[in-house]
Symmetry: C2
Subunit: 262 residues, 2 copies
Amino acid sequence: MRIASWNVNGLRACSKKGFGDWLSGAGADIVGVQEVRANEEQIPNEVRNPEGFATHFVAAERPGYSGVGLFSRETPDEIETKLGVEEFDAEGRLQIARFGKLQVVNCYFPNGNGKERDNSRVPFKLDFYRALFDRLEKGLRDGEPILVMGDFNTAHRPVDLARPKQNEDTSGFLPEERDELDRWLRNGFVDTFRHFHPEAKDRYSWWSQRFNVRAKNIGWRIDYVLASPGAMPYVKAADILHDVMGSDHCPVVVDVAPDACR
Amino acid sequence: MRIASWNVNGLRACSKKGFGDWLSGAGADIVGVQEVRANEEQIPNEVRNPEGFATHFVAAERPGYSGVGLFSRETPDEIETKLGVEEFDAEGRLQIARFGKLQVVNCYFPNGNGKERDNSRVPFKLDFYRALFDRLEKGLRDGEPILVMGDFNTAHRPVDLARPKQNEDTSGFLPEERDELDRWLRNGFVDTFRHFHPEAKDRYSWWSQRFNVRAKNIGWRIDYVLASPGAMPYVKAADILHDVMGSDHCPVVVDVAPDACR
DNA sequence: CTTCAGACG
DNA sequence: CGTCTGAAG
């Protein structure tokens, strides 16, 4: 069973670049997308109701901003979309879908950049991280199988971005952001890609659109699938699909034994 | 001597579609453009400083809005750009250029559509018409040669638009707008195109960008070169260059005896 | 339907 | 650098 996460940077734009074809051909059973940047009515029909998938979308209140979506071959038993904090819930960043006993969390973590191209939104970002962690903590402790996938907007370690030195003051690689991600991992979540590829270098999931930098592979690994200890026994592989085009991010995937849901 | 007027609907966009080539190949001695939608620094250099032309640009205060420009093989003796009314002069709509004794007025008359897609800006439009008329009236009476070219945003008569019946409540063909244009003509200005082509039908200078309507020639004649009685003896021909692409308007031209300037 | 600005990333 | 909204035409 393949589970994929992709920040599509506008699902309407990505659809024009072949999202529908990728979805039908990728062999994925569950796909979470981030930065949909549209409400459901605006999404072209072949992607809004794709053959063979159940869909669920959460839009931000602000038009054209944020938003997440979930495509799944089986309809989830339930989906939660709120943390109970108005500022977070207004931005369409979260889906917690349950498939049997497996929880699949699709999340678009906030970008830390503020209006003035400063780091003024970092506190909001960290508060969001903490609120979601708090929401998941009990299940984590109870050994439930949980996968948290999405655009975390944070590179964990120097090896996870091409230019660590130049970016120590850049949101996405600030010490306090890395510390927060560390805390998730210390508390049991596993960075599945790093688990299966402990020595991998130059493996990124996002490249700036400026200067045609993707061709030179000057990127960041900021999209993850984290697995709880209760989920890890089912996780068989993890990968980054760096050759899939259509967005400034590429998909990241895990392969999971189907009995994770039972 | 050929004098041309063209609403370019963004000089940057029009430049990408060949404005520079048209300018060098059109055989025009004076070209007035409207809706430049850029300040001088933003204009690509081959159009900002084209070989063989003097240039003069007037930008609106609001970025990306309105703006007029003048290209001329001879440098004008003087250029005036203001009517002395702050609301008008802030919008970069006017150049009054003198070449010897000939006055060439390049003007982007206001569109009558308001914010809510209503006709709320019609009063402003008519006030602008009146202020410019007042500015030109003395020269008109004194028999000076004056050409007023530009986007008047008004079709004069039913023959000047493809769908007169459907547009009696649309700004651009309102009775009060047509009356104002009538007043200019009653006071001596000559619609040069109509003068040389009294029976012409289906000759338009603007087509809506919606529904690909230009191919069907469902348009409006709202761009004119008006000539004062003092200028008429020099005006030898007038035309509409409907096959010139690059904007939702096309150029309109007059051919004038060169001694109009002496 | 298209231009441009400005927000955001 | 690109995706969107929103104003404007």
